[in-house]
């Protein structure tokens, strides 16, 4: 078991590097997270509507202007509302959304442990 632990420690140290992504990946990530207003079931990345194509150009431009991911989200949120983001941020509207599944997971665990008194 000791060997196993040691192995994991070394392994994790090696894993923490080059976390940065380039602009292309960032652009894809951002457009995947924006919802298209014309075809409302799709992300901007997936959509080929005129609106979505303009959004893609604009995201590119904003990235070149040096805006961060979150600044770009804020920009679109201000124009079109929270709806435009596929990744709802944690605020008073979405506490239940984010925390209820986790709560269910914990309650589930509690039920399992409480109801099944396992034989030693």
């Amino acid at each position: 078991m000791k060997i196993l632990k040691l192995f994991f420690v070394i392994f994790f140290i090696f894993s923490f590097n080059n976390l940065a992504a380039n602009t292309d990946d960032m652009k894809i990530k951002i457009t995947k997270n924006l919802r298209c207003l014309i075809c409302q079931g799709q992300s901007v990345y997936d959509s080929d509507s005129e609106f979505a194509n303009s959004m893609k150009v604009l995201v590119d431009k904003k990235l070149k202007d040096g805006l961060s991911e979150n600044q770009i989200y804020d920009f679109f949120k201000e124009k079109y509302g929270q709806w435009i983001l596929y990744d709802p941020e944690l605020n008073k509207n979405t506490y239940i959304l984010w925390l209820l599944p986790i709560l269910i997971f914990l309650i589930g665990g509690a039920i399992v442990v409480k109801n099944f008194k396992f034989r030693k």
Partner: protein, 172 residues
């Protein structure tokens, strides 16, 4: 006792879900951004249609007048129908109409204006559709009534006679 509470809560939860679903049935599921009024106009640099010069949005709306920003395109069918109304409105001295030509070919746009007349004081040439997004628009046509650097009213879709009357009243 415990079981009774369980029964009541489960039933209550399902009744709540039912009511919520029932209410949700009455609404439309298509999202349109809220028409926020009394917003400041966005800041951006734009290409002008005729002169091809770069200009600033604050430059375009600097006078102490009413402005109507109209997003249009030669390929947009409803734009054709609202165009005559814009021509009428352009005769009113109190208001200046600024066009935003959305994702168009210059030649087509010129033909469109030659055919139907040009109500615009100035036209922003938005080849890639970026400026329209700065305005928070998502389709053509859309119109914004502006006074003193502030958007008073936003119209999604083509204008009609009633809406033009409303604009006439607002700028009196």
């Amino acid at each position: 006792m415990n079981k009774k509470i369980l029964k009541i809560t489960t039933t209550a939860i399902f009744i709540i879900i039912f009511v919520v679903f029932y209410k949700a049935l009455q609404d439309t599921n298509v999202y349109t951004p809220k028409k926020k009024s009394n917003n400041e106009i966005p800041l951006f640099s734009a290409n002008l249609f005729y002169s091809n010069k770069q200009t600033d949005s604050s430059e375009l709306f600097k006078l102490d007048k009413f402005y109507l920003l109209n997003i249009w395109s030669s390929w947009c069918v409803p734009c054709r129908s609202e165009h005559s109304l814009l021509m009428d409105l352009s005769k009113n001295e109190k208001i200046e109409i600024i066009g935003l030509n959305y994702k168009d070919k210059k030649r087509n746009a010129e033909n469109f204006l030659n055919e139907l007349g040009d109500p615009y004081q100035e036209i922003i040439f938005d080849k890639e559709g970026i400026n329209a997004i700065e305005w928070g628009a998502f389709g053509v046509p859309e119109s914004f009534l502006i006074n003193d650097g502030i958007v008073i009213k936003k119209y999604i879709g083509p204008l009609n006679k009633e809406l033009v009357k409303e604009i006439q009243l607002l700028i009196k």
